[in-house]
């Protein structure tokens, strides 16, 4: 067998569109050229414009005082703080709405998804209506609707509703008792840390026992008791250093306690309910994706229905549920930027809104906002990729 030698023809100009490889290279060179020409055009225009308008560039404005107030700040902030601090307050507010929203949306979504599959006709119909109505109405409309409802329909502070003793619901928001940390509170923090360490140790021990003997401890409830109970015990042992500050009506508004603003309330509720409808559909699809044979096999092995759900169906369904679930979390975080419509001060409203308008530094402010959101997305999608790799079915 003799090898056939092909003589590679030398490059000719028409190869650029007739030869597959050369054509590929040609297209790529053109694409790079066009891209750079486009970028150069934009940068050039921007420099010209900034020069014409006499706008200085640079991030120096971040250390100047912001001169505006933010009604909800998780860290110390006043109008004399810097723009950078305002941005940080905004980031924390975005994170607050994202974390609380994700928590509530997951709870409501899983409940709705499971109930949607219920054999009970009535409840599954109700959940169907809930899912379809919420999914098909713009979330901005829902946020505005709930905000209007809180601000216009709830009574004034003087006639505030009292759903639970010590909590007040009025058009100024939801006021709940807040914790007051007096001297010696560190004991409780320490007890909390110890409780977590003990809980992890117990979980490991239970795992070992189960592997060795097959005996199953109720790990979740015992650990919950440890994590909640130990700090409470420490609180009483250290002479009750943590007190509750009760809100009280003074004049036209409440003093003391923790005030959940109407903006936060409306945004949080609307985003949770909206995202939960999507999560419900994801959960339903995930459970339905597990073949019915799995349930039958589990019953045949003598597992009880709730054990079948917990040990057989849910772990397999979660593999289908988690990736779209995480992208829903990301959507919720991005949708929280609609906060600006009701005046909740998140990143977009602080640095991308008031700071931008006060300093005129549009390029710098928007670049900060965009890169922060990109950072969130990259973080969340890397978590998702890591999880996908971990749970992917290992096939041949």
């Amino acid at each position: 067998m003799s090898a056939i030698e092909f003589e590679r023809p030398s490059f000719k100009l028409e190869d650029l569109w007739t030869d597959r490889r050369w054509r590929g290279i040609g297209i790529q060179v053109i694409a790079i050229g066009a891209l750079f020409a486009f970028l150069a055009y934009i940068v050039n225009n921007t420099i010209n414009n900034l020069h014409l308008l006499g706008i200085e560039t640079g991030y120096g404005f971040l250390s100047e005082p912001s001169n505006y107030d933010i009604n909800q700040h998780l860290i110390e902030y006043s109008s004399r703080s810097t723009h950078a601090r305002a941005a940080l307050v905004g980031i924390l507010n975005t994170l607050l709405i994202a974390v609380t929203g994700v928590f509530a949306a997951t709870l409501i979504g899983f409940a709705a998804g499971v109930l949607r599959l219920s054999r009970n006709w009535l409840i599954s119909r109700i959940m169907y209506i809930y899912v379809e109505v919420t999914r098909n109405v713009p979330v901005l409309l829902q946020i505005l609707f709930w905000h209007a409802l809180v601000v216009h329909s709830l009574p004034r502070p003087k006639q505030a509703l009292e759903p639970l003793p010590g909590t007040f619901l009025s058009n100024r928001g939801f006021v709940i008792p807040s914790f007051e940390f007096n001297e010696g509170s560190w004991v409780i923090l320490a007890a909390f840390v110890v409780a977590i360490i003990v809980a992890i140790a117990f979980a490991r021990h239970a795992r070992k026992v189960q592997d060795a003997t097959g005996k199953i401890y109720p790990v979740i409830s015992i650990n919950l008791a440890i994590i909640v109970g130990l700090p409470i015990l420490a609180h009483f042992a250290a002479g009750q250093p943590v007190g509750l500050e009760w809100p009280a009506l003074k004049g036209f508004n409440f003093r003391g306690g923790l005030v959940v603003t109407p903006e936060f309330l409306a945004l949080w509720f609307a985003l949770s309910v909206y995202t939960a409808a999507f999560i419900a559909e994801i959960v339903r699809a995930g459970i339905q994706a597990v073949s019915h044979g799995q349930t039958e096999a589990a019953y045949a092995l003598g597992l009880r229905p709730n054990w079948t759900m917990r040990l057989i169906i849910l772990p397999q369904a979660l593999r289908v549920i988690i990736p779209p679930l995480i992208s829903e979390y990301l959507n919720l975080t991005k949708n929280s930027s609609l906060a600006i419509a009701v005046g909740y001060m998140d990143i977009v409203a602080t640095i991308g809104g008031i700071s931008l308008n006060q300093t005129g530094r549009a390029l710098e402010s928007m670049s900060i906002v965009l890169s922060l959101y990109l950072l969130f997305s990259l973080l969340i999608s890397s978590v998702m990729n890591w999880y996908n790799k971990r749970v992917a079915l290992v096939e041949r």
């Binding site: 694409a31 009535l122 901005l140 505005l144």
Partner: protein, 371 residues
């Protein structure tokens, strides 16, 4: 019992009907509503929920509502329910925004023609489909001249556009333009050409990583910097471009999922037949990939359509923007619920319709490969 025994020979007795409790409505209720204690509790809770929500809602929206009134106070003096008068009095504005009243027939005509133009695209069993499709593809040009003027029609500024008409213009333009761009981006992302791939990935990931509202802010605040000094660039056009690019990135990801689901054998068979890249994609791969992607594509369209409401934040007068201006009128203050419910119903009908159509399309294209 003894009588029946006597009348029939052993074994020849006709079947008795099942007991009352295991047939008909009672059986259905026992199986579906009261099969276990938990189920019974759920059923009772649901009935209570319905009792609490539905009658007051019907009372508010229909029985005690007022359609005909000149102001909020007149409404409230007539009945305590919903004051739909705000919708009926401001109906023209909610539909057309500030489009000149004398020219509104042009908008009506556009949307009548639109219904006519989309029919052959949505349904393939219409008569004369081919010539009809030519009209469908010419429609965007006709619509442009009808809405903005030109060719002898009076010019209308896009700042006069508003209401549901604006929603439809942004939503439908976005839907129509983002699909081809999305397909190209998806092909770019799956391409062997490294440069195209990197550009597509960066574009898609950037757009998907930031909220639409920040992109709209970029369009309204930054775009002036990027263009040559003194260029005027219509705000509506900027919004259209941003919304389209935004949807295109999401569509690209949906179609990429479809492309990845096509077995490699299909590509190889097409190449073995000597098809060029575009023929392979256009005739073999994309028809199959698009079919798989239908639910995702329609979901993206629904999302885009709902996201058109965000334009209110950069100052365009979509229904939500008009709501704010109507509520600022002292005659209609405080009627936000009525207006929001009206807008919600509009969006619900159109989005729910779209999702039903996608289910119909999926069923129609189902070719029975499922095991």
């Amino acid at each position: 019992m003894t009588d029946t025994l006597k009348e029939h020979a052993p074994g020849s007795h006709p079947d008795l009907p099942p007991p009352v409790t295991s047939r008909g409505a009672i059986r259905w209720m026992r199986e579906n509503l009261f099969s276990s204690p938990t189920n019974t509790v759920l059923t009772l809770l649901s009935i209570y929920l319905i009792y609490v929500v539905v009658p007051p809602l019907i009372d508010w929206a229909f029985i005690n509502s007022v359609v005909d009134a000149g102001s909020r106070d007149e409404c409230w003096s007539k009945a305590g329910g919903a004051c739909w008068a705000v919708v009926s009095v401001r109906f023209g504005q909610l539909m057309y925004g500030f489009y000149p009243e004398a020219l509104r027939w042009r908008v009506d005509l556009t949307f009548i023609l639109l219904a006519f133009a989309v029919a052959p695209i949505l349904f393939d069993k219409v008569p004369f489909r081919r010539p009809w499709l030519v009209f469908s593809f010419a429609f965007p040009v006709i619509a442009y001249f009808l809405l903005w003027g030109g060719l002898g029609l009076e010019h209308v500024e896009s700042s006069k556009f508003g209401g549901f008409m604006l929603t439809l213009v942004i939503g439908l333009t976005g839907i129509a333009v983002s699909l081809p761009i999305g397909i190209l981006l998806a092909l770019g992302r799956q391409s062997d050409l490294l440069v195209l791939k990197v550009i597509s990935v960066c574009f898609i990931e950037f757009i998907r990583g930031v909220p639409l509202i920040t992109l709209l802010f970029v369009a309204s605040t930054l775009l002036n910097y990027f263009l040559p000094p003194g260029t005027y660039f219509d705000l509506l056009l900027r919004v259209l471009i941003m919304v389209t690019l935004f949807a295109a990135a999401y569509i690209a990801e949906v179609i990429r999922g479809g492309l990845q689901a096509i077995p490699k054998g299909q590509f190889e068979a097409a190449m073995a037949m000597g098809l060029s890249y575009w023929k392979m994609m256009g005739l073999i791969v994309l028809p199959q990939a698009m079919k798989i992607s239908i639910p995702g594509i329609v979901n993206t369209f629904i999302g885009l359509y709902k996201d058109t409401t965000l334009v209110v934040i950069i100052g365009l007068l979509d229904p939500l923007g008009l709501t704010q201006s109507i509520l600022a009128d002292s005659k209609w203050q405080g009627l936000s619920t009525e207006l929001y419910v009206f807008i919600a119903v509009f969006f619900f009908v159109s989005c729910f319709g779209m999702s039903r159509y996608s289910i119909y399309l999926e069923k129609k294209l189902e070719t029975g490969h499922k095991r």
